[in-house]
């Protein structure tokens, strides 16, 4: 008999899929906001099913909390045996709960936000498909199903990034995201092969059980782990595969909140945590993961200091925060990393929702913070929730980010050696984080009200000809670039409610893991990581509290600095920019990664295509081979034509010669 938890897992999966198909088929008939409510409803039910899965799993005694349910044989041939199977354990349950809860709130937010978009049903169909894919990813019981879910979320992400498909910028961002994600998929495929050949199975349980029979730090195992990291980094926007994530902000804001902040991009973190037996057995790979995570969190924090597009600032902050998570899980602090994943989902989704509300108030014309200021009075609710989100991001004492980020760092510090350095860098970036988080708050909500803000204070929502903020091109409102109407949180209940809930969670979420007092997340996840060698390597409470104190001080310092630079002495920012223009330009250009890839891959690829078409195709294929083949045929026919002179005597002569030759042959042969 299938355990109840597994049955609930299938329900969790089935609901969003049903929503996808239902909305897609009913696109013509679902009028008004019906599609949106159906989409939200399925995800809400899915969340409830997730809760049921949680409670039924809790009934199982901890050592047995690893339940696998298989639907049918997916591939079974010549040594590759893979079932379409789900795995229910605390880790997957944790992810299911985070994903479905945040997704549900974002769905509800979108019900109003996308209200006047022509692609309303399409949007919710995609969004449900995304949730389905993400759930498939976290519930997978083997690497092949994981890869399927992995690619599905990539596809959903692509579809949603280029949702407003008439904007060239959106389609270009979509193709970029998709291709980089495919690079990650290929990494996973190769990793899966190495795991199969080295460990003899593609099932998590069997593969992880076999890992002990391989020598520690085995070369192939390290290669497999590094390839897993390639997949993880591509999905999670880590160096050097991060370039798609900022561009992905072309999608509608709820998409940025859901996929590119709260859920999909954390899949890499989940993957590393899921494959922890491999990484613990190949510590070199884990160390590389930790180093890349640290570099990423620093890199992204520096870029976030100077970028002016509001959503892109949040995007870089996402990259940076995921760097913390990767650092955490690579330093074997699994529950800390996953705890940060959860709190980050709350406050980052909240920040995006707030940003969406502000951008709406400006009539969707631009997303640059240079054109925003003084929204505090006009949008008090958005201001309050956004500030809570930013404070949680900055690690303001007692908010959720404060506890989770510092837990990651204090675990890292505790591991010592190389990790001490990484933790110090992490603290440095925390200072930058606080600074840029409040740079957004101060620039957007304080200062002189811009036109959008002042008109809103008078009670009118600002309207403008929609233009693409990147190209200045006039938007084609036909394919709903957000449609003719805009919605802000202050006026739409279905936007307000999710933001309020998330703000609450961002404030109190941290209380689940106060050092020395609570350790809910850790206790819940413990059975999943029971085999870990580092399970009990915890920093003592005193060390954790010291870490918290340092983090709190850094956060306050960063916020203070932002206050000084952006509110008290605005000239300071300008003069700093002028004095450090070289650094500034370097950062504004995002360390020139895009240019580098353009030069290194895109252009050579195009050139190669041209070369192939113009030269190889013409000279070798058409010239030498086709020419050769037709040449032989042509020469043959030319010869045959040449002997057809038409002169009777020529034929007669040939005839005679032939007869003579035959006669001669027989004469000689008869000897």
């Amino acid at each position: 008999m299938t355990p109840h938890a597994v049955s609930w897992a299938w329900v969790v999966l089935a609901l969003p899929l049903a929503g996808t198909v239902g909305i897609a088929l009913g696109w013509r008939t679902l009028g008004g906001r019906l599609a949106g409510w159906i989409g939200s409803g399925t995800i809400g039910l899915s969340f409830l099913a997730g809760l049921a899965m949680y409670t039924t799993l809790e009934e199982v005694p901890p050592p047995g909390r690893h339940l696998v349910g298989s639907a049918w044989e997916y591939v079974g041939t010549s040594g590759v045996h893979v079932d379409l199977a789900v795995l229910v354990d605390p880790l997957s349950t944790f992810m299911v709960l985070v994903v479905t809860s945040v997704s549900f709130l974002i769905h509800v937010y979108s019900v109003a936000y996308l209200d006047s978009d022509r692609g309303y049903a399409r949007f919710f169909s995609y969004l449900n498909f995304f949730v389905f894919s993400m759930l498939l990813l976290v519930l997978a019981a083997n690497f092949v199903v994981l890869i399927v879910g992995w690619a599905f979320v990539g596809a959903a992400s692509y579809l949603l990034i280029s949702f407003w498909y008439r904007r060239d910028t959106a389609t270009r961002a979509g193709i970029k995201a998709f291709v980089i994600n495919v690079i990650g998929d290929v990494g996973l495929v190769v990793a899966a092969f190495l795991i199969l050949s080295q460990l003899g199975s593609l099932d998590y349980a069997a593969a992880f059980a076999a890992v002990k029979s391989v020598p520690r730090d085995d070369g192939v195992l390290i290669a497999a782990c590094l390839l897993l990291l390639v997949g993880a980094f591509a999905k999670s926007g880590q160096l050097p595969l991060h370039t798609w994530l900022p561009d992905a902000m072309e999608g509608p804001t709820p998409v940025s909140a859901l996929i590119h902040a709260a859920t999909m991009v954390t899949a890499g973190v989940y993957l590393i945590a899921r494959c922890y037996p491999l990484f613990e057995h190949a510590p070199t790979a884990a160390a590389i993961g930790a180093i890349v995570g640290t570099l990423t969190l620093l890199f992204a924090a520096t870029v976030a200091l100077v970028v002016t597009d509001l959503k892109r600032i949040i995007a870089y902050s996402t990259i940076s925060q995921i760097g913390y998570m990767v650092l955490g899980v690579s330093a074997f602090a699994y529950s800390a990393g996953l705890f940060h994943l959860m709190t980050h989902a709350f406050f980052k989704a909240l920040l995006f929702m707030g940003a969406g509300s502000v951008v709406s108030a400006l009539g969707m014309t631009n997303e640059s913070i240079d054109r925003m200021s003084g929204f505090r009075k006009a949008m008090p609710f958005t201001f309050a929730t956004f500030t809570i989100g930013a404070a949680a991001l900055a690690g303001f004492p007692l908010l959720s980010g404060f506890f989770s980020k510092d837990e990651v760092l204090s675990y890292t510090l505790h591991r010592g050696g190389l990790y001490t350095l990484l933790a110090v860098l992490g603290y440095a970036a925390a200072l930058l984080t606080a600074f840029y988080a409040f740079r957004m708050v101060f620039r957007v909500f304080f200062g002189e009200p811009v036109e959008g803000a002042s008109s809103l204070e008078r009670g009118d929502l600002y309207h403008a000809e929609p233009r693409n903020p990147l190209t200045g091109e006039e938007e084609d409102t036909d394919v709903g670039f957000p449609g003719p109407e805009h919605h802000i949180a202050e006026r739409a209940f279905s936007m307000k409610a999710p933001m309020a809930i998330l703000a609450l969670l961002a404030v109190v979420g941290g209380l689940m893991a106060v050092p020395g007092l609570t350790a809910e997340v850790e206790h819940f996840l413990e059975p999943s990581f029971a085999a870990s060698e580092h399970l009990h390597e915890k920093p003592p409470v005193s060390e954790q509290l010291t870490g918290l104190a340092i983090g709190g001080v850094l956060a306050l310092l960063g916020i203070g600095a932002a206050y000084l630079v952006y509110l008290r002495r605005p000239s300071l920012a300008r003069s700093a920019r002028e004095r450090l223009s070289l650094v500034h330009r370097f950062l504004v250009n995002k360390w020139y990664f895009d240019e580098l890839y353009d030069r290194a891959f895109v252009r050579p690829g195009r050139a190669l295509g041209r070369f192939g078409r113009a030269t190889v195709e013409r000279v070798l294929v058409q010239g030498a081979l086709v020419g050769g083949a037709t040449g032989v045929v042509r020469a043959g026919t030319a010869f045959a034509r040449a002997i057809q002179t038409g002169y009777l005597r020529a034929y007669a002569l040939l005839l005679l010669a032939g007869v003579c030759a035959l006669a001669l042959y027989f004469l000689i042969a008869s000897r």
């Binding site: 997916y74 040594g79 092949v144 992995w150 998709f178 036909d478 294929v621 081979l625």
Partner: protein
């Protein structure tokens, strides 16, 4: 099951007979007759699939009578797990294409429908014959017979420079066929044991092994024919012009089915009969495969003509199939068989969709002139999206499972080739998404009139998409039935290859239940179900087997 008492020759002749009847009846009824023929053939294949036991062992429904006894040529047909789904694919796609042609009225309809359907039926019979032939001479005959109807279909109903294109196509592929004919004759003669009877039966030929020095030239001749047909880089010269000239429903079949006959030949003829040469020239074939993948992909994303995008992508996809076959690994070959089926499906669907797109862009198939079609055609966009994702082998599509197995097979012994080929997967996503976006997204093109896909086109495309989805959820349907017969074809070559580079010792013995089989034995031992294990490669040439009279 009574239906299966109908012998294969009748099934084989059914489409051709329908074609002949098409000539006789008034033009109005021709389409219905053709449809009935195609539908009948497809129904028969469905019965075969239902009838086939999982792990299908050996040939079934065999017909084996002397045809030209003086030359030892037999009319020998049969279906096994390897050919089952190719036969089914053929019948299915022919039905879809016939449907797409037959339902058209007015301007879109083809002229001279009687003759058109006759050629279509003849072509189907020829392809089915090639897939079912169990005698090399018969295979060669059907292989060349395929060319005849396509010559007329392209030459008479084609577009853009059709005469030139047809000439090129025919000459190029005929040259390959000639080489194959010569090779087949040489093979039959050389392998005849002293005092024995000449035989072209594939099973006999596989038993009578030739020395490696004789195998290699024969292998090269076969490879030339099959690679031209596939086509593979660099012998794809006929492809661009032919693809541009061929009418779309015919092109769907040309690209989806005909191209598979070549690679099928590798599995059916070359590997079992010429195992030594296959092993000796393995790397040559892998290089060709990898080059085809990369070259096809790179060219596919630099094309403007929608047909050529798909054309070059076919080169890449067939490169994957070749890679899987010549990885000489069970997984690779399994993947290759699945890929033959799935690529057939998506290629056919893509060409039918190109037809739909062109109808909305004033007849233009240039990517620059398409665009924005998704606006008022969400159903078309959804279908196209699914097909596009399947084409780029997105996980979850059957193509992914196929490429996964192919890559796994390639990684097994030839990891460098596998890794280079994996780049092709990334490139596939570039050109496919580029094609999809150029057609469906962006601003509306200059002459584009966006409207929903019509019922007629839907009748052709939707079933194909449905099958793609079905196989995406349950690819084991194909894999399970094809497994035993595919690996049997590979058996000898794999053993030879295994002798050269001993299978890498697995450091990790299976942790899961080491009971049942002897753990120390190399696990391949169990892989030869029906076939008696052939002697080790170094052994003396086997005594005359005495071909079955």
């Amino acid at each position: 099951m009574p239906v299966l008492d109908i012998p294969l020759p009748i099934f084989l002749a059914l489409p051709f007979a329908a074609g002949v009847v098409c000539l006789a009846v008034p033009a109005r009824y021709a389409r219905w007759v053709a449809l009935a023929g195609a539908a009948g053939a497809f129904a028969y294949t469905l019965f075969m699939v239902a009838d086939f036991a999982p792990g299908g062992t050996g040939l079934r429904y065999v017909t084996d009578v002397p045809w030209i006894p003086e030359l030892g040529i037999r009319f020998s047909l049969g279906v096994d797990g390897l050919s089952l789904f190719l036969v089914t694919l053929t019948a299915f796609l022919w039905l879809a294409a016939t449907l797409a042609v037959a339902l058209r009225r007015g301007d879109g309809a083809f002229e001279r429908p009687k003759l058109f359907f006759f050629h279509l039926g003849l072509a189907e019979s020829a392809v089915l014959g090639a897939f079912m032939a169990q005698d090399l001479a018969l295979f060669v005959a059907f292989f060349d017979l395929m060319l005849v109807p396509f010559y007329f279909l392209i030459g008479q109903w084609g577009g853009h420079e059709r005469v030139r294109a047809t000439t090129k196509f025919v000459i190029y592929t005929l040259l390959g066929s000639l080489l194959m004919l010569a090779a087949a004759v040489a093979l039959g003669v050389l392998s005849t044991p002293r005092g024995g009877d000449i035989s072209f039966a594939l099973t006999d030929l596989a038993e009578r092994s030739l020395p490696e020095s004789a195998q290699i030239p024969i292998f090269l001749a076969f490879a030339a024919a099959f690679l031209v047909k596939a086509p593979a880089f660099p012998v794809h010269g006929w492809l661009p012009e032919t693809y541009r000239a061929t009418p779309l429903p015919v092109l769907a079949l040309l690209s989806a089915v005909l191209s598979k006959v070549g690679v099928y030949g590798f599995l059916r003829v070359v590997l079992p009969i010429l195992p030594d040469a296959s092993v000796a020239l393995q790397e040559v074939m892998l290089v060709i495969a990898v080059f085809s993948i990369l070259y096809g992909s790179v060219l596919a994303f630099s094309q403007d003509d929608a047909r050529l995008v798909v054309a070059y992508s076919s080169i890449a996809q067939l490169g994957f199939i070749t890679l899987g076959i010549f990885s000489l690994d069970d997984k690779g070959a399994q993947g290759a068989v699945l890929q033959m089926v799935t690529h057939g499906l998506v290629a056919a669907a893509l060409f039918l969709i190109i037809g739909v797109l062109a109808a909305r862009a004033g007849g233009s198939e240039s990517l620059a002139r398409l665009g924005g079609i998704a606006l008022r055609a969400p159903v078309l966009a959804a279908l196209f999206l699914i097909v596009a994702f399947a084409t780029l082998a997105m996980p979850g599509s059957p193509n992914f499972v196929a490429e996964l197995l192919i890559l796994f097979g390639a990684f097994e012994d030839k990891i460098v080739f596998g890794l280079v080929a994996a780049i092709g997967v990334v490139l596939a996503s570039v050109y496919t998404i580029r094609f999809f976006q150029a057609a469906m997204h962006h601003r509306t093109g200059p002459a584009v009139e966006s409207r929903e896909i019509g019922r007629v086109d839907l009748a052709g495309v939707a079933p194909v998409v449905a099958v793609v989805l079905l196989l995406g959820v349950y690819p084991q349907l194909v894999l399970g039935l094809a497994e035993a017969d595919t690996s049997a074809r590979l058996h000898e070559a794999r053993q030879l290859a295994g002798g050269a580079s001993e299978r890498r010792a697995r450091p990790a013995p299976q942790v899961t239940t080491p009971g049942a089989t002897v753990p120390g034995e190399p696990a391949v031992g169990g892989a030869a179900p029906g076939q008696g294990a052939p002697p080790p490669p170094a052994g003396p040439p086997p005594p005359p087997g005495g071909g079955a009279p």
